[in-house]
């Protein structure tokens, strides 16, 4: 049978993949996609916990699902703003590579 730990393990691997993407990739678009992977890994754990905590009425704990709903909304807004910043940056510098954007580097 599938345990809660299996879902948490899959979620952890997905989070680590996204984290590796943020650490390794130099393309801002791929970094934003990796951020989405990390957010979705958190969502998967939350839904697994929601299903794990079955209440007295025999239903899953829907509080976690409402939380996931909020996370999806905020993630969509975040992607929209991030990509708009990316477009503005590309217009100013003609690049999406983080190596080329080092004006604030000490």
């Amino acid at each position: 049978m599938i345990t809660l730990g299996d879902y948490l393990l899959v979620s952890a691997i997905l989070f680590a993949t996204g984290f590796a993407g943020v650490m390794l990739r130099r393309n801002l678009i791929v970094i934003l996609m990796s951020l989405e992977l990390m957010l979705n890994a958190a969502n998967l754990s939350l839904v697994a916990f929601s299903r794990f905590r079955v209440g007295a009425n025999g239903l899953p704990n829907y509080n976690a699902q409402v939380f996931v709903f909020f996370i999806i909304t905020v993630a969509a807004a975040e992607v929209a703003v991030g990509l708009a910043i990316l477009v503005a940056l590309f217009r100013a510098r003609q690049t999406t590579d983080v190596k080329d954007i080092s004006s604030l580097k000490f």
Binding site: I2, L4, P60, F70, E78, F90, R91
Partner: protein, 168 residues
């Protein structure tokens, strides 16, 4: 859900999630991300969260991916795909990610609840739109409205950011 289906969808999600990071072409990354999100939506449905599974497909595979592909098309990023890989940074970054994964896995191993299977749900969970919606509009009404303001602010911000600077 049967364990076979769980592992099929989980491995689908993880393989294409890794493909997002590994692919050097941003378009291939974006399309891998779609497959990864569809696998994740299947996992949501395996956890009786049908509403969230559908929202996942609609919002991520639909809206967010179209946005990503649109930006990639707009910026025409194919030209700068070839860059030498900094192997020292690559090994260091992967090492940090692997250490993080090991730590999370060890913590999961120490939690007693992680070894338990999921309890049965007594009644039908197919009407979870009603349950989530009732909770959203009753208990979480204020956060819901704050999220609405956030989306409005994000929309205005996006319009402002992508507006062309006036000359002079």
């Amino acid at each position: 859900m049967s364990p076979v289906l769980f592992w099929i969808f989980a491995s689908l999600m993880l393989v294409f999630g890794a493909a997002v990071v590994v692919n050097r072409n941003p378009v291939a990354s974006a399309l891998s991300l779609v497959v990864s999100f569809i696998g994740l939506a299947a996992l949501f449905m395996s956890l009786d969260a049908y509403f969230l599974g559908i929202i996942q497909v609609l919002v991520y595979a639909g809206a967010v991916m179209v946005l990503f592909l649109f930006i990639i098309m707009l910026l025409n990023l194919q030209a700068e795909a070839r860059r030498p890989i900094n192997w020292l940074a690559a090994v260091g970054g992967s090492a940090v990610a692997v250490i993080l994964l090991i730590q999370i896995v060890r913590i999961i191993g120490n939690v007693q609840a992680a070894q338990q299977t999921f309890p049965l749900v007594a009644s039908s969970t197919t009407d979870d739109v009603r349950n989530v919606g009732a909770l959203l509009f009753r208990d979480y009404n204020l956060p819901f409205q704050i999220i609405g303001v956030l989306v409005l602010v994000a929309t205005i911000g996006v319009v402002l950011l992508s507006k062309r600077e006036p000359r002079g």
